[in-house]
Structures are given as structure tokens and as C-alpha cells.
Symmetry: D2
Amino acid sequence: MSYNTFGQLFRVTTWGESHGPAIGCVVDGCPPRLALTEADIQPFLDKRKPGQSAFTTQRKEPDQVRILSGVFEGQTTGTPISLMIENTDQRSRDYGDIARTYRPGHADLTYDLKYGIRDYRGGGRSSARETACRVAAGAVARKILGEGVRIRAALVQLGPHDIDRTRWDWEEVNRNPFFCPDAGVVAEWEEYLAGIRKAGSSIGAVIEVVAEGVPAGLGAPVYGKLDSDLAAALMSINAVKGVEIGDGFASASLTGQENADPLYMRDGKLTFGANHAGGILGGISSGQPIVARFAVKPTSSMLTPVPSITTDGKETKVITKGRHDPCVGIRAVPVGEAMMACVLADHLMRHRAQVS
Amino acid sequence: MSYNTFGQLFRVTTWGESHGPAIGCVVDGCPPRLALTEADIQPFLDKRKPGQSAFTTQRKEPDQVRILSGVFEGQTTGTPISLMIENTDQRSRDYGDIARTYRPGHADLTYDLKYGIRDYRGGGRSSARETACRVAAGAVARKILGEGVRIRAALVQLGPHDIDRTRWDWEEVNRNPFFCPDAGVVAEWEEYLAGIRKAGSSIGAVIEVVAEGVPAGLGAPVYGKLDSDLAAALMSINAVKGVEIGDGFASASLTGQENADPLYMRDGKLTFGANHAGGILGGISSGQPIVARFAVKPTSSMLTPVPSITTDGKETKVITKGRHDPCVGIRAVPVGEAMMACVLADHLMRHRAQVS
Amino acid sequence: MSYNTFGQLFRVTTWGESHGPAIGCVVDGCPPRLALTEADIQPFLDKRKPGQSAFTTQRKEPDQVRILSGVFEGQTTGTPISLMIENTDQRSRDYGDIARTYRPGHADLTYDLKYGIRDYRGGGRSSARETACRVAAGAVARKILGEGVRIRAALVQLGPHDIDRTRWDWEEVNRNPFFCPDAGVVAEWEEYLAGIRKAGSSIGAVIEVVAEGVPAGLGAPVYGKLDSDLAAALMSINAVKGVEIGDGFASASLTGQENADPLYMRDGKLTFGANHAGGILGGISSGQPIVARFAVKPTSSMLTPVPSITTDGKETKVITKGRHDPCVGIRAVPVGEAMMACVLADHLMRHRAQVS
Amino acid sequence: MSYNTFGQLFRVTTWGESHGPAIGCVVDGCPPRLALTEADIQPFLDKRKPGQSAFTTQRKEPDQVRILSGVFEGQTTGTPISLMIENTDQRSRDYGDIARTYRPGHADLTYDLKYGIRDYRGGGRSSARETACRVAAGAVARKILGEGVRIRAALVQLGPHDIDRTRWDWEEVNRNPFFCPDAGVVAEWEEYLAGIRKAGSSIGAVIEVVAEGVPAGLGAPVYGKLDSDLAAALMSINAVKGVEIGDGFASASLTGQENADPLYMRDGKLTFGANHAGGILGGISSGQPIVARFAVKPTSSMLTPVPSITTDGKETKVITKGRHDPCVGIRAVPVGEAMMACVLADHLMRHRAQVS
């Protein structure tokens, strides 16, 4: 069985394979009378789009989105919004080999173990191409959140290389091919990743997503907590192996005093002295910025041979010749933003429902 | 709004406050004709129960579970199983102060921001006492999984102190007050945590959960992936700030070759050369052990004063006098096991449904 | 598998068997800060309670409800509300026979076919005793709807005997043992039903539920339509075999002109010339009264023998000796009201969420 | 808010407006390795397609379905199946009037009351055109059910005109423009409906759906009962005002003896003496044919003027000039079959999940 819908009130259902005729999603539950056209969605897709630098796959997809329903005369009608993106550059011949072998660490194997069949062309349903639909849905979610909520993400670690957080500059994020907020490491990263690519290898990364302006009170304890839903949303992105909120794993080493975010009154308003909690307490937003991080493993599609088996159970070595990202974490940056937007939009609507 | 149900086919709905008359849960969707009595559930509750060592809260709760429905003559009937645990040792007077102040880092504040009301006694609904219900439900989930699936958890980090993984011994876990698998660190940990407690402080921890014998094919891509559901389940536990699968955040630093789990044929069977993936590929179990870790922050209930505010907006300092765990991570060990069991039972049932 | 939860935002999960220690429900998603005590719920349970006239089962159950969670100092807290009713008068010995035979037309058979096990005592989970939980949840739902929404039901057909709708008087409903709105038929009905009872037989009925003051706009097309959710809710009541909205089946015989509800402006306000639609158009409430009817079949528990089989496949004749209602439709009246209240409360909350 | 998904394991999400570029659905949860091509779906769409006789709308739509995902080399892959039908014959100019007036009895009004905006062209989302997607999904559901389950529907009442059930002939259903199983009434019905059409009026109908070969045990008490889910599914079809199972409303007039379906053993097998219950007991299938009926009201789109109001609150008279069915019940016949198929497929999968 598959399950391809997320959200409770703001619900997104995605469909499509990497090399099928198209991919798309149905965004259901969107409130009526929000201004929405393709032009509101396209910029986010362009940001995620492949083939934009030497560090992402050379597949050329325009990723042009079409709104097929749910919008009338430039406004949402409250009915389901169907979004479709046609696949145009499917070079399926590249994938002949993976029809008969399993890439170690890839979903090839488990799709076959589960379903007994798989569309091997470009990874089929397990391809990160699906994330284009998330990005499109995220653009709709941002409309619900309004301009007061600002969601941004950045690559904060490339392989073993960290950024210097004191140099964090959001403006810088859109100026380099890594979505990196620290201009000081970009040259080094370029050299490093070029080396990885030349070596026919791949590397992991860590992305940080920050949402500012989120009202307090979002989250539905105890099984629809905001952090719980964020964890599920981020972990569902291809190749993600870890999710943190606020200080995350580092908080395990802290004492209660070190971890406490003191409360003050400043100009008659509740003010926090720190944000170790990442804006979420007891599964509910506190009004502070929501901070989440997720780790992306290195892709298993690479030119370096790895011991593997064929679909009929013979040992072999696998290399993957197609067009791939040496660091899939880079293009995960806009996807992380989109998942944050979708989760927040859903919880904003859920919170509105409780008014008594 | 609250949301207190998890699972799709194996569904658990919990209810109850720390100092109300009782807590409990309804376990719905359980298959019929499984042998089940209170005696199958109680040992897991006893493991989580407070007051068992100097390192957990001194609240004395027998945590005696009663089955109120869904079982007939010692067998499940396929109808909802209602489980109830009476609260017996509620010393609400301890909590007088927190009625009028917010513990920094605690859900006190956000429950008030969201609901405009909170049952402050012992933390009310936000208390970790709710996790007793998860443990009870987990015992039912284990019945569905059967004896072939073995789920165990251990504390692998106490504050800044790691274990030595080469000394890992599952037998040791039940012999020390930390559920620690490394006998070599227990003495040191005892001294360290005694110091934390004496200082009126608290400390975080990391727990690792391992499920062996899990069949390949569990998980429902792309929004009901096994790792995605595990992330949500573990992140929903009180005080958890991070979740990892397999190598988790460490995989961000690895190259594709380092991270690949090579595949071999040994004695005619698919065999893995490593388990960096933690038993999940593309959101689907591979047949390898499922490995998850989660980080627990230090509790904000401690004897050390922290700047805070009162419910009517005046600055103050807060200390929490009640009975608390200096490291809430310890009692989270059986809770982590229970969440793993519930998620796996749900996905085992979902997988059975797909047979065509 | 069983599925014992209904509602999307206002969610009710019921549990319990006819002759177990207790029955109950968890009401989740209720907004905070609504005044609620047992005294708000008990009157509705008293109305449904058995043993109140010669025409309902002689089982004596006080049906005393206890609130176990979710309410603090007389107000809802927004957390799950656990309600429990203890079973006190279980005379299980009456049901010895049905352990080994199937009542034709009863769920005895299908529970065994599905689950391979059943709690036969008093019908176990399939007993209409479960509907007490619905009535309790309905009382909470009414709190959400507020005093502006008025939900009432009445028995409009007893066996082949209709009421005269021109004599409809809501006041009369609570004055006779049938919840009948037409005083003119009560004497006749008493005689008729006494005859049915003496003959060891049973009879069906039709109930009408009317909700006034429902705001326009409730309902979530096209698969969460208000009438669709009402149909599911009413059909889920024990022994119900049909559901109608507005003119229902009669509308099949009408022409478009006869069926149209003309629209006028009266004193500057939208006014309807008729209500054939029963207050729902396109699955959305129009502001007119919501009118639903449901048909209840005669119970299969009766003293008249019917050909049947034993659990080990031998032919036999079945009579049911326990204590039963000759017309289960009577006590379904408050249950119908409760289901209407729950569905409306859920949709009121869903509608609030859409505000943009 | 809208809600456009139905089913729990076999889930269908539909989208699209009458006069948008296309309509479609995503069928999620379908098991893998079922043979499926467009040719499996098209015949069912052709049956529902407009413009096939003088008695259905003259809009000409080829209703050609395309499979965009979820199928690989002629087999389902277990991933979401996206189906799309392009709209080709949108004569929107016909609908100019209804942009500014409300058809009494139509969803025009309530969509505006709920959403504050509506796509008025051809009824937008509230158009019965959406049911083409249900029919497409139903064709997929039939694949899951397999050839052993046979689902057929027929028109059993046209306005006030019943059929003679003793002449019921399933073969006849596909030979006349009414899907009527009684050849003896066809001529009379043709004359009658021609009269209705000439008069610029419309008329209601009743449809009966029968599913044979359904295994015992399907249904998930007490809120996922098979009859409850069927009631919701059928009531969600446009213009439906009533749903019955088995004897339905007629059972209200029966005594327990009359309504009982006696049980016998014949050739060592459980055998029923009658089927008043319509194949469902306690919400669970008994192995007998499932029998459901639903009532369709006359469409409010007709050439006869009815008092109404304009969108800016002025009184007027409305006639609807576009192309409409004089009896929308006729084309609801294949839709009823499809909903039955979807509900049964979902419950078959849910039942498989419970095996312990």
C-alpha cells in the first residue's frame, strides 16, 4: 500500500513518477478567495529546478506548473486545486542497468521487496522529482500563512564542512549555488564539491529551516504536536535521516539551566531570553521563530562501483550512469521550506477551528 | 484543538491528566484472537513506573492497568480495547506555585497561549504521565508483531557522557537504573547524575531503539514512510528535540561510498554488508534491524531558579518544588520501545492489506 | 478490523461491551473554555436510559456518567474528554443460548464470520448499549453548537402507523413513552405495541430529527458533504436501514417545479418558500432547518422462534429470552439527536477553519 | 473548507470543475501488480457519458481517460494512479445568467454562502460532471475486487413509475436508455420522460445497486460499518436525498418475524431463507448479495421559471437554458455502481489487514 497525502485540513496529495508523462498534486482544503496564479508558484519551482549549476543534475526540466482546477478569475474557490508539471526530458535509456540491479542504499530494492514491481526509470516514484510537487503545494500554503509569516532555509553543512554562524546572512543564500548563508565558505565548498563530483562520488548535507512571525498556539497535542508533524514532514523528504528542533541533539548535553529560555516582560510584552526550544514548547508554537534542521545522506546514485546484487539474485558491482546531483541536499533546501509552509498552514487552520 | 490519536489501522487514542482521577487509552483496530490479559501489559508499565530508583521521580504510582473492553475470555475480540490506570498519588499541593507562574521551557506557557486555560496540577495533559498509556498500547502492539519481532531500547548518552559501543550488552540494560547497555559507564553515570540532582538541576539524554526481525516491505511511501511515521511518533514523546534513523546526522558527513550498505548473496540469501540506513530505504523496511535514536532535553522542572513571568505578566523567578526526574530521558526508554512497537504493528497491518 | 471513531475535528471514539465492566468514549477536539459538568450530560442519558416504560427493555441501568479528563474547574481545557458509564445490571445468564446459536437478522453471525470470536453476552459490542456513549458525546457537541442551535427528534412512524403531521407538537414528544409528536395517536400506539410485546414479537419505526438555527455554509463538498456525513452517522446506529434528507425518497416522484424551494427577499433577507431540500443544497447547509429521517428495523431479539443454526452448523430454532425492547426505534430518538449534534459540531469547527 | 477524498485504504481524491480545462482523480492505495490500462476504465465512462440518448444532456464529451501515473508496463505499481479527463465541450456562454442568479434547489446559493465565490460555469465544482471521476475510480476498484464480485445497478423508479420486479432482467438494463431492468415499462417511460422534457421540467428517480459474490466479514463496526460507508458514498452523489439498505424504509413496517432472514444448512453450507437485510448485519457483510437503493431528486436546472433572487439580493424568476438531463437519475446508475465498487474494495483491503 502507498499513502500519498499529508495534512489534516490543508491536505496535499502527490502523484507521478520521474519518467512518466507528468507529476502533480491536489491541494485540498485551501480557503477561498486567496489570490493565486501560476506566477505565485513558479518562482519556488525555479529555485528547486535541476540543471542550474554544475552542482545539480544536468537533467533539463522547465518544471512549468499548470493550475487545472480550484482557481477562478485569479482567486481560489475553496475547491481542490490540481497542479500539474509535465516531464519533458526523460532520457530513460540511461537507466537500463538499474532495471536489473539494485543500487545499494537506494529504494530500488525495497520497492521491489514491497510491491514486487517497480518503475525503474529514473527511480520511478522514489525519485526526488516528487519533491517538485511539494514545492508547488508550499507556494499555496504560503498564501494561507500570509505575508506576516516568513519561511527561509539554508544549507548549513556540506559533508564535514560547517558554516560560521556568526557570518549568517540571509541575503547570501540566493547568491551562491549551495543556498549557503555564509559567504566565507562558498569558495571552499565549490572546490570541495567539484572534487566529489570528479571522483564520481556524492556527499551529505544539513539544512536549517526558520519560520518567523508564526503566531503562538499552533500545534495539536499530543499526537498532532507541531514538532511531531514537522518531523514527519521533513523525514519524508528523500534521503533525510535525521530531524532536529531548536538545539536538537545538542540539548541532550545541556543542563536545565543551560537549556531554559528565560521569560521577561519588555515593553509590556512577553519576551524570550533565548530560543533553545526552537519556538515549540509542548508541541505548541510559542511565538518565537520555529527552527528545524534535517540531515540528508549522500545519494546512492554515483559513478563509484559498490558491491550489489541483480534482481535475479546474482552478485555484481553497481555504478549509476544517469544524471545525478553530487549533493542532493542542495535542492532539498526549497523542499524543506515548502514542508514547513504546508505544516504551518495546516496547523493555522486547525487552530482557527477551535475558537469557541 | 487537540489531537490525541495515532496510527492508521492500529489506532491509539490516549486521554487523561497527571492529577485527574485516571489516565487511559483506547486501542482500536487490534486483530481478533490474540491472547491478552493485564499480565501481558503490566511488566512494561512496571519498567516505566516512577519511584524505582533515586534517579526518577519519587511519586509512587502502582500504575495498575485494567482492561475494560475488547477482550473476552483472555482473547482480543477485534473490538476497541479500553485500558485504564487510576492515579493514586496526586500531591497537588506541591504545584500551587505553577498555577500562577510559567516554568521557562515548559508547556505551561503554550497551553495557556493556545487554550486560555490549563490544568496546572502536575502539568495536566502535558505531563509525561501520559506516556504510561503509550507503554500500555505498545504491549498490545507487540502481540500483533509476534515473537519474531524483538524491540529493545537503551540509554546511549547521559548529558555529555557517551557509552563505549564496543561494550554494548543488552543484558546489562535491565541491571542498572539507566537502561544503559555499557556496564563500564554505570558507576560514573551514577555519580554524575547524583551531582545533577543535588545541584537542583537536570540533564538531557539520547535513547536508541532497535527492532530486529522486522519483515521487509513495511512503510507506505511517500507520506506514510516508516521513518516518517517513526519520526512523528518519537518526536511526540515529551521533551524530545531530535530523531535520527541509522547513521542520522552523521550521514551528512559521509561520502556515497562510506554510506552505502553493500549487498551480497550469502547462502542464497540477500545479505547486507552494513546498516548505515538503519533498516529503512525509501521509507520501506529492508529486513535489516530498524535503528532509531532520539534526543531528550533536560526537564524544565528543577530547583534552580530561572527568570520567568507570572500568568498576569509580572517578572519573577521560578523554581519547581514537586517530585521530578533529574533526567527524564531514563524513563523515556520504555516509551521509545512502545512507540516503535505501535508504528511497526500499524505498518504490518497496512502491508497485509495490499496483498492482491 | 474495527473502526470506532467518527468526526474529523470533533472526534468521538467509543468503546465497551454490553456486559463488560463499563462503556465509554473519548471526545477529542472539543474547544476549550466551555462550561461542562456531568449535569450537562446526564439528562440526555436519562432520556435514552432503559427501563423507563413498559415499551423498553427492563434492564435497569442508572447510566451514570463520569468525566475522567479534559475538564478543569467546570470548564473544558481543550484536551480529550474521557466519559465512562459503568455497567451495573448485567444478567449474563439470560444469554447462555445465544452463545451457541445465531439470532437471524442479528450481528451475532457476522461478528463470528468476521472475527472468529464474539462476546455473546448481551450482544457484546454489537449491542445498542453502545449508543449511550453517542448520547453522552452529543451533549458535549451541543455545548459547541451553543443555544442558538436547537436539535430535536421524534418518532413519526411506529410499524405501519403514521402520525398526522398537522398535529405535530414538540411539547408532546416528552409526554408519552414513544417520543411521539402527535398526541392523537398515542393511545392507539400503546395498544398496538402492547400487542406486539405480548405476541413475543417486535416492530420497526421511523425517526425524524430536526436542527434549527444551523448557520448557512456547513458541509465540506464533495466527500464531506453535510448530508453525506449525516447519512453515515445515522446509518451507523444499530438496526437502521434507511436515511433520508428533506423529502427523501418522496422527491423521486416530484417534478422540478414541485421540488424547487423558491427564494424570496423578505424584509431584506433571503427567505425560502419551502424546504423540500431539508436545509442542505450541494452538501452545504442553507440556513433552513436541517431535516433528516431514519428507519429502524424490528429487533431480531424476540420470543418468537425463527429457523436458525448453531455455531457448529446444526439447524435449530431460536428465541431470545433476555430483556429487550419490542421497538428499538423508540430509544433511538435521543441517539438520532446526538448524532445530528455531533455531525453539526464537527462541521461548525471545520467551517471556522476556512476563514481566510 | 472542502474535503475531496474518500476511502481509508483505497483512497480516491477527485478534482476539477465542469468548465475547467480538465477533471481527474488520484487513486491511492491500490495494490500492486493488477493489470490495468485505459481500456479497463473507458467502457464504464462511456456508459455514464452525456449525449447518448434524447434523455440525457446534449453536451458532447468524449470523456477519454488518461492514466498519468501508477501503472508501468500494463500493471499497477502500488503507487498513486492519476487519472485525467479533458473537458472539450464547454459552452460557457449558456451560463451567463446563472452567474448573477441562484437556481432554487441548486448548490449555486450555498457555494456562495459558504465560500463567497463560485465558478458558476456549468455549476463549477458542484456539477455532476465530477461523477465521471468516481466512475473511473470505480473501474480500478473492480480490479481489486476481482471477477468473483459482480456489481450491477438499475433504475427501478422513474418519477412516480415503478417497475414490476417479477420481470427483472439484468440483460435488459443495457438495452434501453434508462438502465431499466423491466422491458415492460420502457415504452411508457419513454413517452413519460419525453413529456417531462417537452414541458421544460425534470423528474426524480430511484436506483438500485446489487453486489453479488461479496465475501462475508467486510465492514468495520461501529463507525466504519459497511452500510454506513455505503450510505455516505451514495448520499455524496449529486442530487441524492435518500439511501436504503435491503428493505430500507419498508422494514419499519415489518414485525420481527417478517423481517428475519432465517438461517439453514444446505449441503453443509450456511444458507439464508431471505435477504431483508440486504446482505449486511451489524455493519458487516454476511455473504448474501449487498442491496442498496438511492433516491435522486429532479434537477433544479430546467426551462420552467421559478421565483428566485439575484446575487445582489433582488427578486427574479430563474430558468436554466444550458444543456441538462431531464432525469439526472439515469446517468447516476453507473455512478452508483462505482461507489459500491470503491466502498467494497476499501473494505476488502481493510479486512485483509486484520488477519492475525
